[in-house]
């Protein structure tokens, strides 16, 4: 049987999700056996040619040329998976969506006029159709393996739509929000990290983005009752998934 052709791409991001591919470690050798590695510049010196069966894309669309790049990748690929918070939510760099680009440029570069950037950083799904989204900053090797196996078997990957709270309960971690009054985003954040932060005694900071039907406004009202002001509440949402959390908040108001 012909091996499916896999391409791995990067837009604006930190390389952490591509590194997660390389962090498959023992499975990496199996991965390069099961797929034809057609394009993966982070680890391979090979030009992009022909069409792909599967494209994994890390990073957000934040500079003009990337709007064309993502369309090109989509046109070449039978299936496209957005990988990580930048690709599914715009990443930390989406904080510019609520700021003035000119002042950002001016505070970072001596000659700001030479720097090309869009005034927004957006998820891939705002530009092209995406077949599947892998959440997390970074994604986990487990979710990546599961997705690749599902692809090979022709089934949908197992998607967790519930919140981090479920994972805390499953691991028997005492609730930081209820028992310690810490502002934890767990109730509105998608599961997938196995309650990593609460297991290290810190509240969830929302790496995996909003869960389905997240009642963001409800949770923030609770935080306000705990004594946080509106600015502090907003700052909790404005991290690596700022764009999708703000959207979820608006949806939870309607």
């Amino acid at each position: 049987m012909k091996k499916p052709r896999l391409g791995i791409f990067k837009l604006t991001s930190c390389d952490g999700c591509q590194l997660t591919v390389l962090n498959l470690e023992d499975d990496l050798v199996r991965l390069v056996d099961l797929f034809e590695m057609a394009y993966f510049p982070e680890a391979m010196d090979k030009p992009l040619r022909g069409t792909l069966d599967l494209a994994l894309v890390e990073g957000s669309v934040s500079v003009p040329r990337q709007r064309n790049t993502i369309v090109e990748i989509r046109e070449r690929s039978r299936h496209l998976i957005a990988m990580g918070s930048c690709a599914t939510s715009g990443g930390l760099q989406a904080l510019r969506n609520w700021a003035n680009l000119a002042s950002y440029k001016a505070s970072t570069y001596p000659s700001p006029q030479a720097v090309q950037a869009l005034s927004t950083s957006t998820p891939i799904s705002e530009h092209v159709h995406v077949d599947y989204e892998l959440y997390g900053c970074p994604i986990t090797t487990q979710a990546l393996s599961e997705t690749l196996v599902a692809f090979l078997l022709g089934r949908r990957p197992m998607l967790r739509g519930y919140s981090v709270c479920m994972e805390c309960k499953r691991h028997g971690i005492p609730c930081l929000l209820v028992s310690q009054g810490q502002p934890c985003l767990g109730p509105v954040t998608r599961a997938g990290c196995e309650a990593l932060c609460p297991s290290l005694e810190r509240p969830c900071y929302g790496c995996f983005g909003p869960k389905e039907d997240a009642n963001v406004d409800g949770l923030l009202a609770w935080f306000e009752k705990m004594g946080l002001n509106a600015r502090e509440c907003q700052a909790l949402l404005d991290k690596m998934n700022t764009y999708t959390f703000r959207k979820a908040r608006l949806e939870s108001r309607s």
Partner: protein, 429 residues
């Protein structure tokens, strides 16, 4: 005459982290333009950190680089602790060093076996040839152990979550760390042999005396603390170092370049494992010094193409040091030192796998960030990379274009450039 002009254009470099290329023009047998073109998209970290609570800084700056998040967390927390006057206790200091060891292991193994290594045995990727898969397997074994150690301390290897101002959110148990010791012992023994493997790779004959720069420390091989040392013999405090270098913007790169200010002009310098080894060789344990000597290498190494040897040395050292820290570790009474944020400004430099990483923060009275500057190692090395390419081209300009292109790419990969981080820089004005 057209034949007298050669253009070498690599639009996108492979096997580096991030997006960058090379543009070279040779006229009449001499290089006229030599540019490392960084086209990574700007992410404006310094801009969006302004106004944020200082507690966010280690989580945010980690996202500058997925390969060396610990380095960003370490320079951040040390700078903020300097402002707040926090002194962490020995076990916490040791755990930070251990976390850095884990990152050096993971990052150096990645670079030695997956990114730079394949250049020396003629492959386009580490898995391209079945014959060389044992080398890949060795590298993956080291890398995996680095990641395991990172996960024990920080919860996960990419963007660990336990680092905070004042210490850690939770410290690991002695038992959890000891459980890794047998694997680390074996890896240390194996890594000593990798020094001679790295030294046996086919390096081109080239040597030059450049300016090596890294942290230096009286007692230890530097990671988190020290003063900035130059191979010229001078040392500078971290704050004074910032006064001796200048950042400047060039039209062919979204990353700023850096140079040392001397006699009114900027001169390139080099940071990274080679600089660290050359300046700190005497601080290595005897066994590692002997392994290097037995491999036929004398220090200082004056060939920038041999940076992979320095990485092999540091890989072995990171295993050695990790074992030492784990053996001495005593679970601390508290995971972090409590503090009150105060107004102030501070500079801190730590040694990222790719070299010295400088952070400066100014914090206001409410504990929010008022301004910051981040100078990553790759940014400091860009001007040096161009000088390295230029020196090579001056001797070999008559070679065919495709040979020059391949060699130029290899030269850049020796720096382990992490381009995704190189763009997050701000003017020092």
């Amino acid at each position: 005459m057209k034949a007298d002009r050669k253009i070498i254009h690599v639009p996108s470099l492979a096997r580096v982290e991030g997006e960058g290329g090379i543009f070279i023009e040779i006229r009449h047998g001499a290089p006229t333009q030599v540019h490392v073109t960084i086209h990574e998209a700007p992410r404006f970290f310094e801009a969006f950190l302004i106004g944020r609570p200082h507690e966010d800084v280690p989580d945010f700056t980690a996202r500058i680089c997925g390969i060396c998040p610990v380095a960003y967390q370490m320079s951040s927390v040390h700078a903020l602790e300097k402002i707040f006057g926090i002194q962490v206790e020995k076990p916490l200091r040791d755990l930070r060093r251990l976390l850095y060891c884990a990152e050096w292991i993971e990052s150096h193994a990645l670079h030695m076996y997956l990114l730079n290594g394949p250049d020396f045995y003629g492959l386009n990727s580490a898995w391209e040839s079945k014959n060389e898969q044992s080398i890949l397997a060795r590298g993956v074994r080291f890398k995996k152990l680095g990641n395991e150690l990172l996960a024990v301390l920080g919860g996960r290897s990419v963007h660990p979550v336990s680092v905070r101002v004042g210490g850690f959110t939770r410290t690991p148990s002695k038992k959890a760390l000891l459980s890794l010791a047998p694997k680390l012992e074996t890896a240390y023994e194996e890594s000593l042999k990798e020094i001679s493997w790295a030294a046996s790779l086919p390096f081109p004959e080239t040597a030059w005396d450049t300016v090596w720069v890294s942290l230096v420390h009286d007692e230890e091989y530097p990671m988190n603390e020290g003063t900035m040392g130059f191979s010229t013999g001078e040392t500078f405090s971290m704050d004074a170092f910032l006064e001796t270098v200048i950042e400047f913007q060039v039209s062919h790169s979204t990353a700023l370049h850096a140079g040392r200010i001397r006699d009114g002009s900027q001169t390139p310098y080099m940071v990274g494992p080679l600089s660290r080894l050359n300046l700190n060789h005497a601080k290595l344990p005897t066994a590692i010094q002997s392994a290097l000597k037995d491999a036929g290498i004398s220090v200082p190494i004056r060939n920038t193409r041999m940076a992979i040897v320095a990485r092999a040395v540091e890989l072995a050292y990171a295993f050695y040091e990790a074992l030492r820290i784990i053996a001495d570790y005593e679970e601390p009474d508290r995971a972090f030192v409590p503090y009150e944020p105060v107004e102030g400004e501070a500079v801190w430099i730590t040694e990222a796998p790719r070299g010295s990483l400088m952070h400066r923060y100014r914090v206001g009275s409410t504990g929010r960030i008022e301004s910051c500057t981040i100078i990553p190692p790759t940014s400091q090395n860009l001007a040096h990379m161009e000088m390295d390419l230029r020196l090579f081209l001056e001797s070999f300009a008559s070679e065919p274009t495709d040979v020059l292109r391949r060699e130029a790419e290899k030269i850049i990969r020796c720096y382990d450039p992490c381009i995704s981080c190189a763009v997050h820089v701000i003017s020092l004005i």
